[in-house]
Symmetry: C2
Subunit: 540 residues, 2 copies
């Protein structure tokens, strides 16, 4: 692995910072530098846009991957004085991995042996919000969402305030995934009143396993705009892989702890126990994972409804838990232990992304009794989590024909009390393997317009193989399109400004400005040059 | 140019034919051969799908491009006895090109020196339909739309009947573009009650000009599913290029005669005259172009409404005519001569695609007074064309945010009396050059669900350069996704069967069946093999 990485903004852009007024914080953004004073905002020479790249997008920075990126939240967390540094890792598995010398060559060098944990009360952003406390995270989020538009759209833009962020988090309509053990995380918010966010999945597998390539994919994903990254590793050394990813991630990292728990029992679902799962939650919480997908809403009573499905249970987590329930003839232990789970999450501020283990895997199975039965259970769990001050989002499908998308959003809002909806697409047809980034971007744009808060990307390799670095980029850019189109359609006052700047550049044949305003300047340059490589053609 | 081409179906498919009952016709379709009896239709081993590839998709055929493909409609047209074969070409330009020996090396070898023209009444499908006559074209279309589903979905599928096709064409809700001088054309229908169709644009330019590569793009477009192809050539030898394309095209060919007329006056819009335009219409009608885009609805009164636009007039045809009107201070001659135009179209059965010269070129300009003012004029022209029994469709935008798409469809239906709507996307954001096939597929799927009958594809090179062969394929497959997703959402009873077959194959790990059911089997194979190249992994 190349360990020293020079920060590099997207072509035509530079890093810029906006300082806080309540707290001594600096919020990173990207400034697109335009060639002339024709940007349709007051400040004529630049357009400031949301930026997820952290230090990797800052030409002033050089990142040593063996050290990780700046722990910007360290002081904020410390100053709250409601956490303690533990003498050692709390999870047995974590301690065992640390003690295993054969792993030293894989291990992140500065691994944190003294993670933080809450002293005696929840330390979640929701808890603070409900006490009326505005945290630095909340001010960071407010500034970040505003993208400096309040400076540029004199009076026409009502900026997001830290207080409004607090209200949304307190009400459960917005979540700020920010584990106290992931101080490198630049806070962001997922909620219907904010910009639509996108998640990129990465992770090794038994077929391809290599820490360097997963870290590289993660950095590539945030370069192109992923708001969060989920590490879905199922191969070797996933504990160590996760540490490298977390320490080098300025965006929240999500995971599915069940995947690792299953590895620990040799892949046999029936051998899973609450104790092994619990130890995995703590292990990952102390590494700093910001949100966990937990398939706690799949109940025994739902399973018979999957019998007449075309594609059964396609969620990996869902099929593991359905299998476990069937073998043991017991209720899903994630459901029965949900209060215990929430106590753990509240002690580290790990958000819960309630998994849709019964999501449809085909157009045929969309919106069926199994799917919506589970959704009702997710609503029940939402209330339970909120009782423990745990931040919640709800996972959604999947594969849904266009005319059946709206019902998904309506059911989610109704049964899950406005908790943010986090959907995978949905894919609006099943006949285009190789192009499922597109089938899902269509459904994703539509459901985000209707109110979904975050879209999980789908890459061209979906249903066919594992995404490589290029696929990650294609997935991210495609879903930035879906999210941005939805922001425009929802009437976000700042979203369409970039479109206007692009259109004006186009009308005036300012080619370079068009490339720099593009979601992917490199591809815009390449495609243009393929037809008209002359330098003159970029001036015209 | 490689002139001899061996017919080749998509991987895993074979050509099949369904015979007519009213007429001695054979309708080509594609049969996807499945490995087991698990296709969710009565006939268990194959799934029959719509096919646009003509002889090029038939392994029994070998096509000599210098001869062209089979003129399957020759006898049908002849037997109606309402046309005559002319002694010579009617257009001056056509005769001049034919007489120019320096062009012999470019000329299609069997160029038709004796085109057909109506004897004494319209020879349009609309005219026949209104007389209560069912033509072979109508039966062909009905059989083609049904994709053999009536055989397979016993009683659950209400097949399209030739009589229903006749009714839709008579009412102007459906059009069958089928010039009497393009006997090679396999009839198809564009209308809201039928499968959503897609168009692929090709054409040379002053920058890249080469007959072989345009013919190759056209054949590539229909291989992947383009229902019609528009030749938008603006470079050298466009008369000869068009002849090659037409003679080798089993799908309707559209054009924008204004582009060629402009070439004839050296690119100076103000030098355009009705006489030059008229000669161009006749020239192209006698070659066999099936529909013309005509920007007759852009009126002088609309032009002032474009002044405050972000991107002015982006339609090439629109800006040519606006320029002409401004210089001459006269009304658009395409509008003032529209009755004369219709008389020509009716004599060859060329459909008119009423161009939206004032379509928005940016999100900012969407749904403005200029755009909708022109749309009302298009409605007026629709009535005029129908009075002359000319088949009509209406072109639509363009660049429109998602929340403003529905208004476009509603306005079109209202002002244009249910004439088929043929839209370019719309692109739902302007910030993704390099990915505009995706920004437009999102809008395209949505507007097709709402009722648009045909979508014009957009390739990844839109706004950046000229599409090559790969871009043509990407654009076609992407728009097949949008069209198919809309067919599902509109409740077309047969559309979702293919999704079900795919889902079942997926559930049963029948990899090859998945690849063969895919819109693009080649990419599905390639992507799968990139991760799991072993032969065993395709059996699992």
């Amino acid at each position: 692995m190349q360990n020293i990485i020079k920060g590099e903004p997207l072509r035509g852009s530079r890093k810029t910072f906006v300082e806080g007024t309540l707290f001594p914080i600096r919020v990173g953004m990207r400034e697109i530098v335009l060639s002339t004073g024709n940007c349709p905002v007051t400040n004529p020479d630049t357009l400031t846009v949301y930026d997820t790249s952290g230090q990797f997008g800052d030409e002033q920075e050089t990142i040593d991957l063996t050290n990780g990126v700046n722990p910007i939240r360290e002081e904020w967390i410390e100053s709250r004085k409601d956490t303690e540094k533990l003498k050692e890792l709390s999870s047995e598995y974590g301690r065992a991995r640390l003690a295993d010398d054969s792993l030293s060559h894989l291990r992140f060098s500065h691994v944190n042996r003294h993670p933080r944990r809450a002293k005696d009360k929840p330390v979640t952003q929701m808890w603070y919000a409900r006490q009326g406390i505005i945290t630095p995270e909340m001010e960071y989020v407010a500034i970040r969402e505003n993208q400096r538009l309040e400076e540029k759209m004199n009076g026409q833009f009502k900026p997001v305030s830290p207080e409004m962020v607090r209200e949304e988090v307190a009400a459960g309509r917005g979540i700020i995934p920010a584990n106290i053990n992931h101080p490198e995380c630049e806070p962001m918010i997922i909620g219907r009143k904010f910009l639509v966010k996108i998640n990129a999945n990465i992770g090794n597998s038994p077929v391809t396993s290599d820490i360097a390539s997963e870290v590289s994919k993660s950095i590539h994903a945030i370069r192109w705009g992923a708001d969060t990254v989920m590490d879905l590793s199922t191969g070797a050394n996933i504990h160590e892989t996760r540490e490298w990813i977390l320490r080098n991630s300025p965006v929240p990292i999500g995971s599915v702890p069940l995947y690792q728990a299953l590895e620990k029992v040799g892949g046999k679902a029936e051998d899973l126990t609450w104790e092994i799962y619990r130890d995995t939650l703590i292990e990952q919480a102390e590494q700093g994972v910001d949100y966990f997908t937990i398939h706690a809403g799949l109940l025994r009573e739902h399973i018979p409804h999957t019998v007449n499905r075309m594609t059964g249970i396609v969620s990996r987590g869902g099929s593991i838990m359905a299998n476990w329930c069937s073998v043991h003839k017991k209720e899903n232990f994630l459901y029965t232990h949900f209060d215990d789970i929430c106590d753990i999450l509240a002690a580290y501020d790990v958000g819960v992304s309630l998994g849709d283990g019964l999501r449809p895997g085909s157009q045929f199975d969309a919106n069926d009794k199994a799917q919506f039965g589970e959704l009702v259970a997710l609503g029940e769990l939402t209330k339970k989590a909120w009782d423990k001050h745990v931040q919640v989002m709800i996972e959604g499908p999947g594969h849904v024909p266009m005319h059946m998308i709206a019902e998904n959003m309506e059911m989610e809002l109704k049964h899950c009390f406005d908790a943010p909806f986090y959907t995978l697409g949905p894919l609006v047809t099943d006949i285009a393997p190789g192009y499922d980034h597109i089938t899902s971007a269509i459904g994703g744009a539509m459901i985000a317009q209707m109110g979904a808060s975050m879209l999980c990307y789908v890459t061209p390799k979906e249903h066919l193989g594992l995404p490589n670095r290029d696929d990650v980029k294609t997935g991210v850019v495609t879903f930035k399109i879906a999210a941005h189109a939805a922001d425009i359609a929802k009437g976000h006052p700042g979203a369409i400004l970039r479109d206007h700047a692009m259109s004006k550049a186009r009308y005036e044949f300012r080619w370079r400005d068009q490339f720099h305003l593009a979601l992917d300047p490199d591809t815009a340059y390449d495609f243009h040059d393929a037809t008209l490589p002359d330098e003159d053609d970029k001036q015209a």
